[in-house]
Symmetry: D4
Subunit: 253 residues, 8 copies
Amino acid sequence: MDKTELMNLLRAVESGSVTPEAAAAQIKAAPFEELGYAKVDHHRAVRQGVQEVIYGQGKTVEQIEGILTSMLESGCRDILITRLQPEKATALSEKFELEYNELAHIAIAAPVKERKLVGSVVVACGGTSDIPVCEEAAITAEVLGSRVHRMYDVGVSGLHRLLSQLDVLTTARAVVAVAGMEGALASVIGGLVDCPVIAVPTSVGYGASFGGVAALLAMLNSCASGVSVVNIDNGFGAGYLASMINKAEGVRE
Amino acid sequence: MDKTELMNLLRAVESGSVTPEAAAAQIKAAPFEELGYAKVDHHRAVRQGVQEVIYGQGKTVEQIEGILTSMLESGCRDILITRLQPEKATALSEKFELEYNELAHIAIAAPVKERKLVGSVVVACGGTSDIPVCEEAAITAEVLGSRVHRMYDVGVSGLHRLLSQLDVLTTARAVVAVAGMEGALASVIGGLVDCPVIAVPTSVGYGASFGGVAALLAMLNSCASGVSVVNIDNGFGAGYLASMINKAEGVRE
Amino acid sequence: MDKTELMNLLRAVESGSVTPEAAAAQIKAAPFEELGYAKVDHHRAVRQGVQEVIYGQGKTVEQIEGILTSMLESGCRDILITRLQPEKATALSEKFELEYNELAHIAIAAPVKERKLVGSVVVACGGTSDIPVCEEAAITAEVLGSRVHRMYDVGVSGLHRLLSQLDVLTTARAVVAVAGMEGALASVIGGLVDCPVIAVPTSVGYGASFGGVAALLAMLNSCASGVSVVNIDNGFGAGYLASMINKAEGVRE
Amino acid sequence: MDKTELMNLLRAVESGSVTPEAAAAQIKAAPFEELGYAKVDHHRAVRQGVQEVIYGQGKTVEQIEGILTSMLESGCRDILITRLQPEKATALSEKFELEYNELAHIAIAAPVKERKLVGSVVVACGGTSDIPVCEEAAITAEVLGSRVHRMYDVGVSGLHRLLSQLDVLTTARAVVAVAGMEGALASVIGGLVDCPVIAVPTSVGYGASFGGVAALLAMLNSCASGVSVVNIDNGFGAGYLASMINKAEGVRE
Amino acid sequence: MDKTELMNLLRAVESGSVTPEAAAAQIKAAPFEELGYAKVDHHRAVRQGVQEVIYGQGKTVEQIEGILTSMLESGCRDILITRLQPEKATALSEKFELEYNELAHIAIAAPVKERKLVGSVVVACGGTSDIPVCEEAAITAEVLGSRVHRMYDVGVSGLHRLLSQLDVLTTARAVVAVAGMEGALASVIGGLVDCPVIAVPTSVGYGASFGGVAALLAMLNSCASGVSVVNIDNGFGAGYLASMINKAEGVRE
Amino acid sequence: MDKTELMNLLRAVESGSVTPEAAAAQIKAAPFEELGYAKVDHHRAVRQGVQEVIYGQGKTVEQIEGILTSMLESGCRDILITRLQPEKATALSEKFELEYNELAHIAIAAPVKERKLVGSVVVACGGTSDIPVCEEAAITAEVLGSRVHRMYDVGVSGLHRLLSQLDVLTTARAVVAVAGMEGALASVIGGLVDCPVIAVPTSVGYGASFGGVAALLAMLNSCASGVSVVNIDNGFGAGYLASMINKAEGVRE
Amino acid sequence: MDKTELMNLLRAVESGSVTPEAAAAQIKAAPFEELGYAKVDHHRAVRQGVQEVIYGQGKTVEQIEGILTSMLESGCRDILITRLQPEKATALSEKFELEYNELAHIAIAAPVKERKLVGSVVVACGGTSDIPVCEEAAITAEVLGSRVHRMYDVGVSGLHRLLSQLDVLTTARAVVAVAGMEGALASVIGGLVDCPVIAVPTSVGYGASFGGVAALLAMLNSCASGVSVVNIDNGFGAGYLASMINKAEGVRE
Amino acid sequence: MDKTELMNLLRAVESGSVTPEAAAAQIKAAPFEELGYAKVDHHRAVRQGVQEVIYGQGKTVEQIEGILTSMLESGCRDILITRLQPEKATALSEKFELEYNELAHIAIAAPVKERKLVGSVVVACGGTSDIPVCEEAAITAEVLGSRVHRMYDVGVSGLHRLLSQLDVLTTARAVVAVAGMEGALASVIGGLVDCPVIAVPTSVGYGASFGGVAALLAMLNSCASGVSVVNIDNGFGAGYLASMINKAEGVRE
């Protein structure tokens, strides 16, 4: 509830059209639906520009069904469900229209037919094993309305593969750089482009990669400016942020 | 050297106006000046939109002088020097015009008188001890051309202090959230705004804060979307990225 | 054996009603029953106000049966068994009256029909995935005699969900704040209430949550006063402590 | 601003005695004073029962003076300043009445002459080197109105020293157990008493104590119920929480 | 090959009874049998007083068979095989006489009927879940000729259970203290006895026990003298060392 | 594309035999084949002397098939596939000629009948459990043309086993020292030989071996000169590097 | 207070020669002297065979004086003070007879003139920088009555230096193996001797030695039997334990 | 003492020209000089091709003098002393001819006038702050007889600086890649050259660089083949190994 809404509500109390009790109730009760195990946040689209996304891990099929139903009833479409295991996707697809990507474990419920995609987000990764995280980022950005260029297997130990696509890179409005092992991709790309680079460490690797820690630390220490980092394997977060940046209106003054 | 430049150079070779030897030399030698201990990157402004920034830590006064001289001779102004210890700043100010912020250990050499500032970047922090990192971020963003709103001591254990400035927060184009200790500020702000939030963990704290690791991990695990993280105490990186996002042109299609 | 008991026993020796040998034996042998693999502590209720609780993990069904039998024979009821896997619960329920919560993996043997519940303990969590730990805390507190209010899915990235229940929060005598990922819930609640907050980090999350370490560190660094922390996923410990605080008699002077 | 206050304010708007603009301003502006580098929280005593405590580390003498002045003007007395270095204490004592404990680096500004102390908080530690942290806890609890029993050098490698004071321990309403190195004290005490034990790991030790991590982990894994943990060396937090528990009114029903 | 053997061999060369070539070969080839995947160390009993022990983990049944056969042929009996999975034990027992302890995953091949046991080794643990590690220690010490007293479930949160067996403890010649979670048992025992205490951290626990790290650190930081530590879950190493100490001849001078 | 190639291409442009457009295309497009999920690097043998090696982990059978086909078509033979799970090997062997080592999970596709092996690489390990990593190193070195001496089960707790093969060790041109647990083998060998020692920590061990970290740290801290380290369990990397060193031509001047 | 003492005291109560009140007081008060900041344990020599040792770190000169005075008055001589900084040693030596070792920071107060030393403890280390820790161990063992052989700079990268002293090593009754960096010395010695080896990791090293962690882990993972470990730099603990083992009477049966 | 020497010695014993006692003495006593605090290894040059190097850290001036004197007397020249603090260098230079590099803290005692340098070792680093470690590597390699090319400030965020020197890189026989922060330099170079790359992580950086750990992990996880790693800041080790590889004779067959 932002300042304007608060002022309007208080004016309605002042004018007598709303009682104080009703106002207090409204301040408290409005923004979400209580499901017991979850509170579905219907005001999120208003507050943040994007409707609620369902984090599938750790939720039962029944809980996801409840949240989906609540969202569909309030008019949502193109609902993202991340980290959704295949068997849950199968169960859900019996009751809901569902597009499911097996690689990235991401689903779109009630998908919109033709999305209008704008701008340019590049999703790049170092190796074939990083593709699931890339796809999570790419699909997220596409559902949120961004045009995505996939640029896979461009690891820094063979620089010419990356350099051959410099023209796509340098015209992007945001780059998602996905890499496991030593995570150097983010720094190299960060030195080549003039837009924000969102680095995603992945848990790909073995031994001293420590489940993605090596890549995470490398990315946090990037010597290139304009690079920031999200959690290990967090393709969704990177795609979300890249799309937010890609779609931003220009500054006006 | 991007694709266009390569094509032009090759055409010049084809037309005979440039010899192959000169072309090869140009491909190699152009973009930087060799100082022995450093290679000053004069093409960086072309390639990335922002001229080179001098990282002061671990450089001698003589080395910084050399780099500054090289940059000034090639026409740079408003040159940022980060992590510059006070005694080095004093030494440098005898030879160069220098604005120095003692708190943030950041200097501006050959500062421009009146900068045109656009958009809105909020720099917020949880406690008084985080202010030096905040100032590094804020000054960086200002030198790069962004208008900055400082919002200090708005830690999550007293939410009303943060909520009282919701109107400034919600109209920002990028937020830098600086916090040590438990680092919760980024998540709380991330849930309130619809622009990118750049989280900066600080080394403020003691015991199990482990020099900023606690805040770093908390921020990487933020449950709010649109949050990404830079290195511990990296106010410069956050200010740079925030300004890059703030000043971006709108997507056109 | 506290001071009073020691004095009484020594007086009985002095008066000749107890021999020194019997006294020495009593000092040593009384407080527990030796089962070989376990020593059942029958004096615990006297010493600490709460009877022994059985930690189910790492114990065989036969071992738990032995301990249960020993406790039932000494008159215990409402016996908690924590971290009890479903198949063990099934096996035990054939020989004992057992209430089992599948989500929280906690059982009550020989449950009392109607418990008298007093005071107010709030058990709150950030997300749906934290509910199992919450239920372990809530059931523990209820068995120990505390009235419990469950407040689930009130994560800090959507503050209005938490703030809508401020009246319940501010009238609690103890709050259990359960959160994985960035663990910020404890700090935010700690800033809103004037009773002890017991923070429980959970292993919910992925990547840099490191199995609950991120939340643990955040909670240990809480900037709010009155917050203390128990082990990752230790819902039992938090529920036990919250109930102990909730049921305490007032200070008298 | 809790529910009752909100309702009263809204009723005042309804009755016309307060304008909506004034109400909105009050909701925002009231609870703290803006000093630029800090926001002094004057409503904290109302909201949490205890006035603001000043965390001295990382604040300049000038900043502390500003906060102290603001608090004194609003009527505060017995103001705690923690982690205050001796030279800052000396500087402050020229302008304010100040009691300073050199060992614990804690100061009381504008101290009250005779405090009424109630209940019983035990502050125990394993070795002589832990005393500074103990004193921080003890002084904090005393300033907040609790009677404190100090029990120093009762480490578990000489159990008889601890057992000799069982009568004091078993009549405490809260125990603060301070220990570095292996941190076993909390578990041993936790098995002897029936009140909450707040464990404080200290950074005392060397080698594999890792600045208190060994003790911290041991305490988090305590096999005794009723034990919770605060940050390494956080005597203030433990004393605050112990006093909160010690002074709680009894549950009424 | 110690000094005496070298001198004897060299004298034999001098006297002509052994050729230099044969001597060189003997220096090299004697002490072990080459199986390709293993080098069975037949001189170990001479050099170290105890014959080779087979570490079962990571070896195939065929490899263990090969080593066993080689050892049996050279006259070994009572051969310990540690960390032997049940299915491998079953396979081996078809070809060899084998005593197998399922709990401790330890086997004795070609067991001796009646061992002469001397001295007194106490094996103590904090909880029922630590028993497998205890049994590995106890069986190892017994096979090596030591009398063992098992003292299980004597955790420090119920000190009376441990204190009731003080007479057994104080007459031991070596104590193995096994504990997971906070690992305080070693310190408490270390303060009660005057013989070496070998501490074994176990991986029992959850959350911040980090697979035994918490107990390991606590034990390394023990404030009691005479305590040393072996690897997490290394019951074998502790039993071996305890038996070595227990059976040592007295110093003579 | 190195300097000579660039000069030649530029000269061809100058002479008119190649157009600038074709030259630019050639600079970009030549070195790899785009498979969508992978970019097969056909120029690697030219640039680095060894053709591409396929890292099998995280790739589907179909993806490996695609890469293999591409490489075979461009004339590759003796193609290494590392970390290839048995079921994938079985599937691939239906379509390709494949030598598969089950222990080391390494395959050779289209193997060459008789390799010419030169020089001497020693692959040594401390225990039987380290053999899989050793075999990965040994097979890699052999495929790359090096003669390999295997020296297994020569752990430092029985030095005579290692010393008995000093003549083989001291004539090696490179040694791969593979060890888990305490990783001391590399230092001991490093003190005996005058060629480079490549240390490979393995994840063999338990408890405080932390999946190979103990061995890794020990090897990084080796007090012997000439020792360097590769990732935990990275037999391939060590074999590759050992072979590179073994086969190097002598310095000429 | 062991079993016999308890029985005697109880019999005295039974016979009327001791009142119950006096008995209870004796059970509690006897074993130590209360200094406020410390409880001097005068029964320790009875209970553990060795009088109290003063840990100097973190204690003021005044506190050490108080403890020394208390011990001297109760008849102690040859009192060890460990981790005593030079300036404190100087201060103490004005009031007490003090032998101080500057390298090891260890002092002996009221030293005995001629100690009778028995048995054989070897103290060995890898490098010159480890000598301070060695001396702490050696002096401790000597004060406790053990004959000590120092064997310095025998690191594993030059095995011949260690092997040249095999005869001293193999006749020791206990070995203290001190090593920083990779800590391999303990394993190599453990494979050569048949007595207990007490490994002491040191903080000598840099980079990935992490203040002794590398050596600590290596030692905990030693593949040699009979090796146990004490805390990093804990020369005192190792010397104490080695002397305890060295001086033990032989088992009798 | 290798096989040939042993055979010769044994033959001398057989022929009577050497007595067994003398032979045993020779086997033991020859290879080093005992200084008490150090054992100077005079056979090292024979055994490993390079004479002993003095590690200056943790040694007193007197100890270094002793070792230097011993080495000079046995004919050594060009003696390296690493990690030598300036004040020690000053003290030593009064007695010995000493070349000292202040940046790298490395000294050469009794330096040879004109060294014959062969081959090509490249020492490259990412930033100006890494130069001290580079110089340690470069000077070490030069003293050992290798020609060195320094290539400083070629970090991956400005690839053109590195690529401009491709011709030097690709003709090197060994490359030392020095980098702090994200450590990506080793991977990028590893993908460009066909000789061994020795990666040296440096402690340059702040925050999540954790004193070089981030760079260390990145380098261990390098996706480029032919890369191995030495300890953080270990320029000496890298220079030593690079020179060993550079100077190796070619394989002959």
